[in-house]
């Protein structure tokens, strides 16, 4: 790792916004640590927030693979998220009207297969047409899926939702009993405000482990894909589809692959959510999720994977951070304030940094090819790994 050998050089290699984001992230993590140690922020709740951040990061990864890479306008993020959540819930929940009781791994597989089918269903008729048709169709799809979930009670339990979803690791060796097996810990760092780690904490830690595995895998796949010839064709399609066609690329097939990939990642977010919340209802399919994912991607910088990660974290910070404002006397309620804040952030970004906070800025060529070509370009993999690590905390 060049980073460990020479952290100064790695830092000097960063662009100004990258340093800025790095600085703010470090400060933010320190702030959270202090809040935890002083007892202002419960450690279990903190881990829940990390889980949520990972979930939003997955949603924005998925949308980034569609919009950021290929320019596909998908307004049905919430539908794919909901399909993921309901897919696994219907398979595993004790309250499921059709199946229930299966292992969460079966739930995961079913969720992905249903999301794949749905992506193909909407992609086949629209991806041959101009970009706007997908946008319109996906807008309709989101509503159709939500209304089916709300009204087909024999299938989904309707507005009552699904209860009794097991944790993702239920039934696994070791991990299923891990939270109970762990001793309760009482850490006193600052006298007078002990930090207590109990079963709920270890349960939350497992959830974080799960979302880190999902998000880490998605990030790994997307990063490699983004720098590959495959990703280059997608970016060509985004800029100018006719050019890609003239150069002999089957753009329909590429768009379909990008759309399916993004949809599967969104479904992954839904699977995680179902096993985090242990309850899913039709409200989880509200269009606000789509809206949040779009804000995260645009905020982070369309086309940038780490930007999507950053955007996802910012969304959770605003969404959950405003809850603490309940204690402060404010002229308006925190709930509308939340949306107002997100609106203000997006307006400010569009005005002062329309490309997003962390746009993709280095050229994207398969890393070893650039190294081998003897070009004096510094590979940035070390830097990116470092950033990913910092943001994940």
């Amino acid at each position: 790792m060049s980073l460990l050998d020479d952290p100064k050089a790695a830092f000097a290699d960063l662009s100004r916004p990258e340093r800025w984001v790095l600085g703010v992230s470090v400060a933010f993590v320190l702030f959270l640590l202090v809040a935890m140690l002083t007892g202002a922020l419960g450690p279990t709740y903190f881990l829940f927030l990390v889980g949520l951040a990972g979930m939003y990061a997955l949603l924005s990864f998925g949308l980034n693979a569609q919009w950021g890479f290929t320019g596909l306008i998908n307004f049905s993020v919430a539908a794919f998220f909901g399909i993921g959540a309901y897919g696994t819930a219907l398979m595993t929940a004790s309250g499921s009207p059709i199946a229930g009781g299966f292992s969460p791994l079966v739930g995961l597989a079913v969720a992905l297969v249903v999301a794949l089918a749905l992506a193909l269903l909407i992609g086949i008729p629209t991806l041959r047409l101009r970009a706007d048709y997908l946008a319109i169709a996906s807008l309709g799809l989101a509503e159709v899926v939500r209304l089916i979930v709300l009204n087909e009670r024999w299938l989904t339990n309707g507005s009552a939702g699904l209860r009794g979803i097991p944790g993702f690791f239920d039934g696994w060796p070791v991990l299923s009993t891990f939270p109970e097996a762990m001793p309760g810990l009482r850490l006193v760092v600052i006298p007078g405000s002990p930090v207590i780690l109990e079963t709920a904490f270890w349960q939350a830690a497992l959830n974080v482990l799960l979302v880190l595995a999902f998000a880490g895998a998605a990030y790994f796949v997307l990063r490699r894909a983004h720098r590959s010839p495959w990703g280059r064709v997608l970016r060509t399609i985004r800029s100018d589809e006719d050019l890609a066609r003239a150069l002999g690329k089957n753009t329909y097939s590429f768009k379909m692959q990008s759309f399916v990939l993004g949809s599967l990642i969104m479904a992954l977010a839904g699977v995680f959510y179902a096993h985090l919340n242990l309850y899913v209802g039709p409200g989880d399919l509200d269009p606000i999720t789509t809206f949040y994912a779009w804000v995260a991607v645009i905020l982070g910088g369309s086309g940038s994977n780490r930007g999507a990660l950053f955007g996802g974290i910012v969304i959770v910070t605003i969404r959950e951070g405003t809850r603490f404002l309940n204690d402060v006397a404010l002229p308006i309620d925190p709930a509308p304030l939340r949306l107002l804040l997100i609106g203000v952030v997006i307006v400010a970004v569009m005005r002062y940094r329309p490309q997003g906070v962390l746009p993709p800025q280095r050229e994207l060529i398969w890393p070893s090819a650039v190294d081998g070509g003897g070009t004096p370009e510094t590979p940035d993999s070390g830097v990116r790994e470092r950033k990913g690590g910092d943001d994940d905390e």
Binding site: P229, W230, D240, A369
Partner: protein, 262 residues
């Protein structure tokens, strides 16, 4: 009718009785001609003669109402553009296409056909193959940029270079796709004379190395100097075909350009 039918033994592109109407307008009206392998064939005609429509029909961007297009003896009528490209026919566009967020050499790397790294699965099943072909393509791209004397632009953002340089990059990228016949739509429109001269030299050089060209151009001096034979299009059909000299002195061509009608 179709006087473009000079005897052609080895045609790399053959267009036969091609028709396309937009509403009541016959944009391509029973056009028939062929492009002989190894030539630089010019396609000229007054504004609205249907040159660009013809290009779109040949390259698969438009579906013809009738007639056939053959590339290398394979019937490509009605095929998708990428399928036509697979037969060895590559085209460029009248206005240079910008690739946002890419450097020049990155934009060049879109050119090569059938890259192993264009398959999503290969990225994970055999990254070594991807790296190998990417290195080879990168080296090739840099070599071609050198040939075009624009290698100093390699790491510039593809959107920051001049219009003329973009045309050069487009031509260079098209060469990476290893076309047998390359269709150029107004390669020197809006390009300054120095760069235009450079483009002409490059096209001639590539032609000597074996690429067949079909080019639309309004700059008469440019096309008369470079192309032979020249196909003249008027109101959607082929008016005549001949040497630059012959075409220049053809009364019907002069009439067409002066708006006399066919």
């Amino acid at each position: 009718m179709s006087e473009g039918a000079l005897p052609k033994e080895d045609a790399v592109l053959r267009v036969d009785d091609l028709q396309k109407s937009f509403g009541g307008l016959a944009a391509t009206d029973h056009a028939t001609f062929a492009v002989e392998r190894g030539t630089i064939t010019g396609l000229i005609g007054p504004n609205g003669a249907g040159k660009s429509t013809l290009f779109n029909l040949i390259s698969g961007f438009y579906e013809p109402d009738g007639g056939t297009v053959e590339v290398n003896g394979t019937d490509v009528t009605g095929m998708e553009p990428y399928e036509v490209a697979e037969q060895g026919l590559i085209r460029t566009f009248q206005t240079p296409r910008k690739l946002e967020g890419m450097t020049v050499r990155e934009a060049m790397l879109v050119g090569p056909r059938k890259q192993p790294g264009e398959s999503f699965l290969t990225l994970f099943t055999s990254p070594g193959t991807v790296a190998e072909s990417e290195s080879a393509n990168l080296a090739e791209a840099e070599r071609i940029l050198e040939d075009f004397e624009i290698d100093h632009l390699a790491t510039q953002p593809a959107t920051d270079i001049s219009g003329g340089q973009m045309k050069l990059v487009e031509l260079a990228r098209a060469m990476l796709a290893e076309p047998e016949v390359l269709l150029l739509d107004e390669p020197v429109a809006g390009v300054n004379p120095t760069l235009a001269k450079k483009l002409k030299e490059q096209i001639r050089r590539l032609n000597e190395q074996g690429t067949t060209f079909l080019l639309i151009e309004h700059d008469m001096e440019f096309v008369m100097d470079l192309a032979d034979p020249i196909v003249v299009l008027d109101q959607g059909h082929v008016l005549t075909e001949g040497t630059p000299e012959g075409v220049r002195n053809d009364q019907r061509v002069i009439d067409a350009y002066l708006g006399g009608g066919a």
